[in-house]
């Protein structure tokens, strides 16, 4: 993905989200009382300004991308880091797996408790990023959540979620 493609992408996305905000987001997402005396005090006033500005900036990005394209100038080289340039199916696959891990992690916290959810999440992420120290990672996966629990529950006085099954002291 070249810098110019990226610019066209974000510019277009900004213009579209601006339109979405104006026609759907703000009318349905914000409720305003009917008896407002002054328009500048309305709860809608500021979000509408923001939606407008997002559209304008989006247009600006599109225009500058188009101009850069017309002049064939390569500003692309400088704001690209090499490791971001290529994307393989493996990248997206790992990202998808990570998303699943995070969603399961989040869902598991109220059910089995923060500590017991963190241990498998730790191990899963460690293997996902192909750790070179699998044994250390497993040991750390057990110790880190337990130590954090001890600190937050007993020193900081936080009610760490315990879940339905195994309660820690």
């Amino acid at each position: 993905m070249s810098s110019r493609h990226k610019q066209l992408g974000i510019g277009g996305a900004a213009v579209l989200s601006s339109a979405f905000l104006f026609f759907v987001g703000i009318p349905y997402g914000i409720s305003a009382p009917s008896n407002i005396r002054n328009i500048v005090l309305s709860p809608l006033f500021w979000p509408q300004i923001l939606a407008g500005l997002i559209g304008l900036v989006g247009l600006g990005i599109l225009v500058s991308a188009a101009r850069a394209g017309a002049g064939e100038t390569v500003t692309a080289g400088q704001d690209q880091t090499p490791d971001q340039a290529q994307s393989e199916p493996g990248n997206w696959l790992r990202l998808a797996v990570m998303t699943v891990i995070l969603v399961v992690y989040l869902a598991a916290v109220p059910w089995i408790g923060l500590v017991w959810a963190s241990i498998p999440a730790f191990i899963a992420v460690a293997f996902l990023i192909q750790t070179r120290h699998p044994k250390t990672a497993v040991i750390a996966a057990i110790l880190v959540p337990l130590v954090l629990y001890a600190f937050f529950a007993h020193v900081a006085g936080v009610a760490v979620p315990q879940g339905e099954f195994v309660r820690l002291p």
Binding site: K6, G9, I10, A14, G25, G29, I30, A32, P33, N38, V40, L41, P43, W46, P47, L50, A51, I54, V57, G60, I61, S64, R67, A68, G71, T73, Q78, D83, N91, R94, L95, M98, T99, L106, V109, L114, S118, A121, F122, V125, A126, L128, I129, Q130, T131, R132, H133, A137, A140, A141, V144, L148, Y149, F151, F152, A156, V158, A159, V160, P161
Partner: protein, 498 residues
């Protein structure tokens, strides 16, 4: 009785082992709490409060002040080492601190953070002692219209942290402003983008957004490309900050401290905007402007000076007016009251000894911070040596625990993950994260103060230019915007000519 007699009297009150111990314990607790993401300085001070009930007033309050100061410095440690700000105030430190750590110069960055913190702390304390009365009456002139213009000016910081493209910086900032509107409307109490969900009614938790935006994308990048960066080993680096380097940054440190004192003495702004303002000013003035954001030592110095400069100055409205400038000072006021003391102008008359005792204690605390900080840096340096395959999952779990602890809410963990996804996309699309964050902090302040001004005036915009303070900020805003736009045009011209 002269000023110096008072100071001597104050010195007698604090020159005992308990006071020194209270300060030292406080700073240690603060640094540790600050270094744990999610455990903000505020929480640490709140947790320490019950312990002060049993102490004498001055010892108890010194303990709290120690925690406060330690906490603000402590936040810079994870910001530099693992790109996770320990407290909101240290988010500006990430911008250059983390790149330095990546280059194997974490030791330099941490050392500079400490020296800048202590210097700014000292300047801030001196400002408190010398100018408390004057700055307090100045701060009392800040009503909603003055705030509005100040925040408007502060938003021009965005240009300073936008990176290469001002437009992309602006887009990132607008996204932050939009996300900050989630919650309940200030004036009418109606729902705004919260879909009647009680978890969203309070708005998105600031710390969850902050950690999500900076720490999680780093982990996702590692997931994206597990072998990238693998060859480079990070190490603390034996090199420490040299005196020449400190001197090179000294101007920025002093400038940052003054910004911190100024913003700290006005109730309701806080340390994070001050750090960003100081950072962007340092960048603007520096000949190495291009290197900012890529690992410039001066950037770390400016950011840390900006946030620690606030620490002493927030006590100005507290002691001189009895007005808390932020949540931390609100808790400290609670500690005063439990001991039957009422901060305010009268306290300089009725309990002058305690006030001057606190002043002396504050000066000592800067020195203690330097000592404790040096030890803390040595204790935390091993973090830089942990292999990434173990460090990153540990950071994830740490962030989850920390973000939960902020408001005891599991929902916030979800917010952090979602913001992490957004932050990763922004990284892929070259949208800078710093403008988003600044806008997220300042946006609600801008809107609230605008609407409060309109309520005051009954809808007439005249109130926004009601006095000299507003004129000054309007002028500064216009000058900055013109300069930024001109520089922007010049850059794009150069780009097309090349």
């Amino acid at each position: 009785m002269s000023f110096f007699d008072n100071l001597l009297l104050g010195w007698e009150l604090v020159s005992n082992i308990e006071s020194f111990l209270a300060l030292a314990v406080g700073v240690v607790v603060g640094v540790i709490a600050g270094a744990i993401p999610g455990m903000s300085a505020t929480m640490a001070v709140a947790l320490t409060l019950p312990f002060t009930f049993a102490l004498s007033p001055i010892t108890g309050i010194l303990l709290l002040l120690g925690v406060y100061k330690g906490g603000i410095f402590g936040g810079s440690i994870p910001a530099i080492l693992i790109k996770t700000p320990g407290t909101p105030a240290s988010s500006a430190t990430i911008l250059d601190g983390y790149p330095l750590a990546e280059k194997g110069q974490a030791g330099k960055a941490l050392g500079m953070a400490l020296y800048a913190s202590c210097t700014a702390d000292l300047i801030s304390n001196l400002a408190l002692i010398l100018f408390a009365g004057w700055l307090a009456s100045f701060a009392l002139n800040f009503g909603p219209p003055e705030f509005f213009t100040l925040i408007l000016f502060s938003l021009t910081i965005i240009a300073g942290v936008s990176g290469q493209s001002l437009l992309r910086g602006a887009l990132s900032a607008l996204m932050g402003l939009l996300l900050a509107t989630i919650g309940l409307d200030l004036v009418y109490g109606t729902n705004r983008f919260n879909f009647n969900d009680p978890n969203l009614m309070g708005g998105l938790n600031f710390i969850a957004v902050l950690i999500g935006l900076f720490a999680i994308p780093e982990i996702l990048t590692k997931v994206w490309d597990p072998r990238g960066n693998d060859g480079s080993t990070r190490q603390l680096g034996g090199n420490w900050v040299s005196f020449a380097e400190y001197r090179a940054c000294f101007k920025s440190i002093v400038r940052g401290s003054v910004i911190g004192v100024f913003l700290g003495s006005i109730p309701g702004i806080g340390a994070a905007p001050s750090a960003f303002l100081s950072y962007s000013e340092a960048r603007r003035k520096s000949p190495n402007r291009e290197n900012f954001g890529k690992g410039e030592l001066e950037g770390v110095a400016a950011a840390e000076a900006g946030n620690n400069g606030v620490a002493g100055a927030t006590l100005i409205p507290l002691l001189a007016l009895g007005v808390p400038g932020d949540v931390i000072t609100a808790i400290i006021i609670g500690a005063f009251m439990i001991h039957g003391l009422q901060p305010g102008p009268l306290m300089f008359v009725t309990n002058a000894d305690i006030i001057y005792g606190l002043f002396m204690g504050l000066i000592i605390s800067s020195v203690i911070l330097l000592l404790v900080g040096s030890v803390a840096i040595r204790a935390f340096r091993f973090v830089a040596d942990i292999p990434r395959g173990v460090l990153f999952p540990a950071v994830l779990v740490l962030c989850v625990f920390g973000v939960f602890a902020v408001n005891n809410n599991i929902f916030d963990i979800g917010v952090m993950f979602a913001m992490g996804g957004l932050g990763f996309l922004m990284l892929r699309f070259d949208l800078p994260a710093a403008p988003f964050l600044i806008a997220f902090i300042l946006g609600p302040l801008l809107e609230d103060n605008f609407r409060q001004s309109m309520l005051m005036s009954g809808g007439s915009p005249d109130v926004l230019v009601r006095g000299p303070i507003t004129w000054v900020f309007w002028t500064m805003t216009v000058i900055t915007v013109v300069a930024v736009v001109r520089a922007g045009f010049r850059n794009s011209k150069q780009a097309t000519q090349n």
